[in-house]
């Protein structure tokens, strides 16, 4: 027994030592960039959508000849929204795949732990959908190693809550949010703003992602007669809620978040999606010219309009690759400097017209979100 365990272990160690050398030997022309997302487990629906956008960006770059004369390849790791896997995956990407930048990840808690490692090993990270303020808050001001080109969930919640109060003139608001960091943060922010403006939060209920039955909670909310029902979460649950709200007779203004504008959402929610409003940074009919152009290219390739998550993935990759191009070599530390200071002129398709990758001290780009409303099964931006 002991003989076998010793031999076994030595063999494994030997293989482990040999592996990096083997990998190095295969390191030829393409530049590999890292991509770490939840592709299975919690958050995998969102992770896969972001991934689609990332792949599209890489495909476009390669079709145009690549970067620095070399093609771009993705080294992909599935972190399953699991912190210990994320931390391990980052090391693997940097040391085994020698990536100079990592696109990732989606779960903010995983980002916080992974960032530490990425910073230690001098490789910058670009968001894979993570919106939590804790991620950019963990950056040292002035020296960010995690970059996010849209406002954190605090900002999103703020914009949405303002819309609720000013645009929809709501005094009584009911909140339904999922238990992820995203949903919880949005709910908290919305509560603060609405109450600060003198409004009342008549209900604040949570649900687990994938919960199927909301009839009871929606019936109860109906009795409270809210002016607005705010849903903090992502498209799949939002669609379920909106659909069931219609069937229990809860008719009021619904305001959503995240990807609750996507074609998927409209299809799943059906006619109940009429008049649904979402605060979003990206929508295919955005006034942002760059964003519209991206939407058209995406639609030509895939046959449907990109959603916010696809756009997120796309621009994360696009910004990273552009920074790589400007630096001229796959050097993580140099790319980080370029991202932090040198991308002010690079236009991105999110946000209002003229938004660029102008990262602030904490690695974030702040701009107000739009409100988009669904009319006749189509999204209409509210200016």
């Amino acid at each position: 027994m002991s003989r076998i365990s010793r031999r076994h272990m030595l063999g494994l160690l030997g293989a482990g030592i040999a592996l990096p050398a083997l990998v190095k030997a295969q390191d030829s022309s393409p530049i590999r960039i890292g991509c770490m997302l939840p592709l299975s487990g919690n958050g995998s629906i969102e992770g896969n959508q972001v991934f689609k956008g990332v792949k599209f960006a890489v495909a476009e770059v390669n079709a145009a000849g690549g970067v620095l004369g070399r093609k771009i390849e993705l080294a992909v790791e599935d972190d399953e929204s699991n912190t210990s896997k994320g931390v391990l995956a980052v090391r693997k990407l940097i040391e085994q795949e020698h990536v100079p930048l990592i696109i990732g990840t989606y779960a903010s808690a995983v980002v916080v732990a992974s960032m530490k490692v990425a910073k230690e090993l001098k490789v910058p990270m670009l968001t894979g959908g993570s919106t939590g303020a804790i991620a950019t808050d963990a950056n040292t001001p002035g020296d960010p190693w995690f970059f996010r080109f849209f406002s954190d969930s605090t900002g999103q919640g703020y914009d949405t809550a303002n819309a609720i109060i000013n645009k929809f003139h709501a005094k009584r608001v009911a909140i339904l949010h999922d238990t992820t960091g995203y949903g919880t943060d949005l709910a908290k922010q919305t509560t603060e703003v609405v109450q600060g403006a003198g409004g009342e939060i008549v209900a604040n209920e949570s649900y687990n992602i994938g919960d199927q039955d909301f009839s009871t909670i929606l019936t109860r909310i109906r009795t409270l007669k809210p002016d607005v029902v705010y849903i903090g979460g992502w498209a799949a649950d939002g669609a379920t809620i909106v659909r069931q709200a219609a069937s229990v007779g809860l008719r009021t203004q619904f305001v959503g978040s995240g990807s609750m504008l996507s074609d998927d959402f409209i299809k799943l929610a059906g006619p109940a999606s009429e008049n649904f409003a979402v605060a979003t940074a990206y929508e295919a009919s955005t006034p942002n010219k760059v964003g519209r152009a991206f939407g058209e290219r995406f639609r030509k390739e895939y046959g449907y309009d990109p959603g916010m998550l696809n756009a997120l993935g796309y621009y994360s990759a696009a910004i990273g690759i552009e920074a790589l191009r400007r630096v001229g070599k796959p050097d993580g530390a140099a790319i980080q400097q370029m991202l932090a200071n040198g991308m002010k002129d690079f236009p991105i398709g999110l946000g209002p017209e003229g938004t660029t990758a102008d990262f602030n001290d904490k690695g974030s780009v702040d701009y107000p979100y739009f409100i988009a409303i669904i009319k006749n099964g189509k999204r209409v931006l509210d200016h």
Binding site: S5, L12, G16, P20, E77, R91, A109, L121, T179, G181
Partner: protein
């Protein structure tokens, strides 16, 4: 004697790895394996040796980690307080879970442990004011180690954490071995093999089962605290039922009831995803298939099969 010598050599080799290997990936992989060794050895105590089925090891792992996180946030204590506190608190939770074990067998017990695991996970996620919800909690690294005011060294960063966890693993595995070989350990085995008979000859089955649960939980608690201080941020998705299943699978595939078998299982199942490369998409699928094959064809695990082969060989000699 020979066995002990080869184990010592193994430990020394493991300790030397940071100097032998370039980069940090291998070290961090080994670190993860060591944590799982602690978890699986703990589970083996209650399930392999005492025969009480537990799918809750992931929950205890989480309770240990969150003890460190919450104490760190509210009491501003450090690792050296968290480690014993984590083990004690988790051990008490293990006691809590052991109580249903006194009355239930086999599948019923398994279901209770699954229910416990699910409740703990849902609690971690939903009780945001206490646990920070999905955003998790930050945990400081272990930091300075001083003896009587004299600073010895600082534990921060991968290598230092690796050696700390290696030391902890060795200590805990030795403790587990002592437990298994002690009278208590033999009581566990007696209860596993035939509880009625064990009671008939005067063993206190209640005490055996409860101590087994406490011990296995305490091990998981220690693993939780160590991991929390290494990762720097803990979140509920690290302590799901799938983690519990993975630990169970490691134990089964390695060989439950054997002492070192589960360690083999840990090595195999940790390295498997790394070896898959481009097939990583199918990782969970392989895992499921492996589990079914193991249970159907080799229920005694790798270690058990080896032992059988050895016994047959000896018998033939």
């Amino acid at each position: 004697m020979k066995k002990n010598l080869s184990l010592v050599i193994l430990v020394l080799l493991l300790a030397a790895v940071p100097f032998l290997v370039q980069g940090s990936y291998i070290v961090s992989l080994l670190l993860l394996m060591l944590v799982y060794v602690i978890l699986t050895t703990g589970l083996n105590l209650v399930t392999g040796f005492c025969g009480q089925f537990s799918f809750a090891q992931g929950a205890f792992f989480g309770i240990g980690a969150y003890t460190a996180g919450i104490m760190s946030r509210d009491l501003h204590t450090g690792f050296w307080v968290h480690l014993p506190a984590g083990m004690i608190i988790t051990g008490l939770c293990g006691l809590l879970l052991g109580i249903p074990a006194l009355r239930l067998k086999g599948h019923f017990l398994a279901i209770v442990t699954i229910a416990f695991q699910t409740i703990v996970y849902l609690g971690l996620v939903q009780w945001t004011s206490f646990t920070g919800g999905q955003n998790g909690l930050p945990v400081e690294p272990v930091g300075d180690v001083s003896l009587f005011g004299a600073h010895l060294f600082t534990i921060d960063g991968l290598r230092a954490n690796y050696w700390l966890i290696l030391t902890a693993t060795v200590v805990l595995v030795v403790i587990a071995e002592r437990l298994v070989k002690s009278r208590l350990g033999r009581e566990w085995v007696a209860v596993r093999d035939d509880e009625v008979l064990a009671s008939a000859i005067g063993l206190n089955a209640t005490r055996a089962k409860l101590t087994a649960f406490v011990a296995s939980a305490a091990f998981a608690g220690a693993a939780g605290v160590l991991m929390a201080h290494y990762m720097g941020n803990i979140a509920p998705d690290d302590y799901t039922i799938w983690i519990s299943c993975t630990i169970v699978a490691m134990m089964i595939i390695g060989g439950k009831g054997s002492f070192y078998g589960p360690i083999l299982g840990v090595a195999l199942l940790t390295l498997l995803p790394e070896m898959l490369g481009d097939w990583a998409r199918y990782r969970m699928l392989f895992f499921g298939v492996l589990l079914v094959l193991a249970i159907a064809l080799m229920p005694e695990g790798i270690a058990g099969r080896v032992r059988k082969l050895r016994a047959t060989k000896e018998a033939q000699a």
